[in-house]
Subunit: 244 residues, 2 copies
DNA sequence: GAGTGGTCTAGACCACCCC
DNA sequence: GGGTGGTCTAGACCACTCT
């Protein structure tokens, strides 16, 4: 494979390889959890050196899209894997020890998208959404009340029963049942006062200060797929973030 | 340079180069904002190939410790540079446009470290700290009230007058005046109710929900140097975070 | 031992910056 | 034109995993 000579702005070969690899991921040629071909195989398939494939894979691995395992191979990252199960959950107990969360789902509705969620999901006017709620509990204590809105066209026939039955994380569910892999997310955090509804679900006094977390989650190609607003009790727990 | 044969667990060469580079940074051989020697020069100094130096520099650059500029050279990252001025500030207006913040400093005290700040800074019993407060305003509106605590041994003779006179960001000040470069930080976010003091400084009603941000900031070698607690108004502003 | 990713080298050439 | 980082190659060898 030669670098195309006519490109106005220079694009390195390894970026083109990244595009090709991503294409195979989107198309489902390699599924979450599976191994992709070895570096040497890919090098010969794309007619480039192993080093160039390596650089492309390196970047995809640093974006948590692929996962390398020395001596075994390179795998498609999956929210099903234990280490990735709650990859985007930043709320942790002050003590540091990790507790497995429990989910309770309710309030599923389908309607026309509108307002902030519709804008976040870049929906066309009149496009449908699926909305539902979830209470997440740690050690039996309700800590997070989520309002979740999905682009309905990507999750046909989703039901609460399926969600409850599934058991694992919501993103693991999207991936396993609908083939939608969440790649990255953006969050906006604010402090708010608990209204009556939130207070009831989270078992705190109305007016209690809560952490409000708005999130947009993206799949391949930076396509927004899920909007959510979480209200979180931060007594004994905190949202942890590392800056670098 | 040969790989040492006796090491029980394998350490790649480029990691040793990273250590050597970091050593030169700590010692002040290359100062913030300055260029370090070229890759070929470093390769011959360390008796390794350019590729190995490259990999070491790549990692330091991804940690924002060095900064590459194609065609010019590799530079020591600095909080003085415009793009890094408020590198760790994640609070942004909902509109997205960036407003230059203004700082007001007050309440400086020196005393024996105690409690949470002392633990965070891993101080020995009886070691001294410098504590001061700061109100950060955006567009004339006070938004963040910070309580900042420093390991006193590293900031001899620090005064409020110096801080005020300096003008730029606090980390830029630490770096320029005391040669302490902040490399990374950890933050814990919670929602709290404004007490009387915070309400007064931030011009909100007592009891208003505020975002509380605890931070530990580290210099080279993961040494904790600064602890702070920020209380932040999130009306028209939010703490933005990107998950990947 | 065979296969995979990980390291290291040496050399060629390209894109960018500045003189 | 000369220097710097950036890309790409080809090949050797090492560390890790599984059979």
């Amino acid at each position: 494979m030669k670098k195309s000579a006519a490109t106005p702005s220079f694009r390195p070969l390894y970026e083109q390889i990244k595009v090709l690899l991503t294409r195979s991921l989107v198309s489902g040629e390699w599924k979450p959890g599976e191994a992709i071909p070895s570096e040497l195989e890919l090098a010969s398939r794309f007619r480039v050196s192993q080093g160039t494939v390596r650089k492309a894979i390196d970047e995809l691995a640093s974006e948590h899209i692929l996962m390398r395992r020395q001596g075994k191979g390179t795998y498609v990252a999956s929210h099903n894997e234990p280490s990735y199960q709650y990859r985007f959950l930043r709320v942790i107990p002050d003590s540091g020890e990790k507790v497995a969360p429990r989910n309770l789902f309710f309030g599923l509705e389908r309607h026309k998208g509108a307002g902030e969620p519709a804008r976040a999901l870049r929906l066309k006017a009149g496009a449908s959404v699926i909305a539902f709620k979830r209470v997440m509990s740690f050690g039996g204590r309700p800590l997070i009340l989520d309002d979740i809105v999905l682009d309905a066209s990507l999750f046909p026939g989703l039901t609460l029963a399926e969600l409850e039955e599934f058991g694992g994380s919501v993103y693991s569910f999207y991936e396993t049942v609908f083939g939608i892999r969440m790649i990255r997310a953006e969050e906006w955090l604010r402090a708010v006062s608990a209204d009556g509804v939130a207070a009831t679900h989270l078992k705190v006094a109305p007016g209690t200060a809560l952490l409000s977390v708005d999130r947009i989650a993206f799949t391949y190609g930076d396509k927004p797929v899920e909007w959510r607003r979480g209200l979180c009790v931060t007594d004994g727990y905190a949202y942890f973030n590392e800056l670098s």
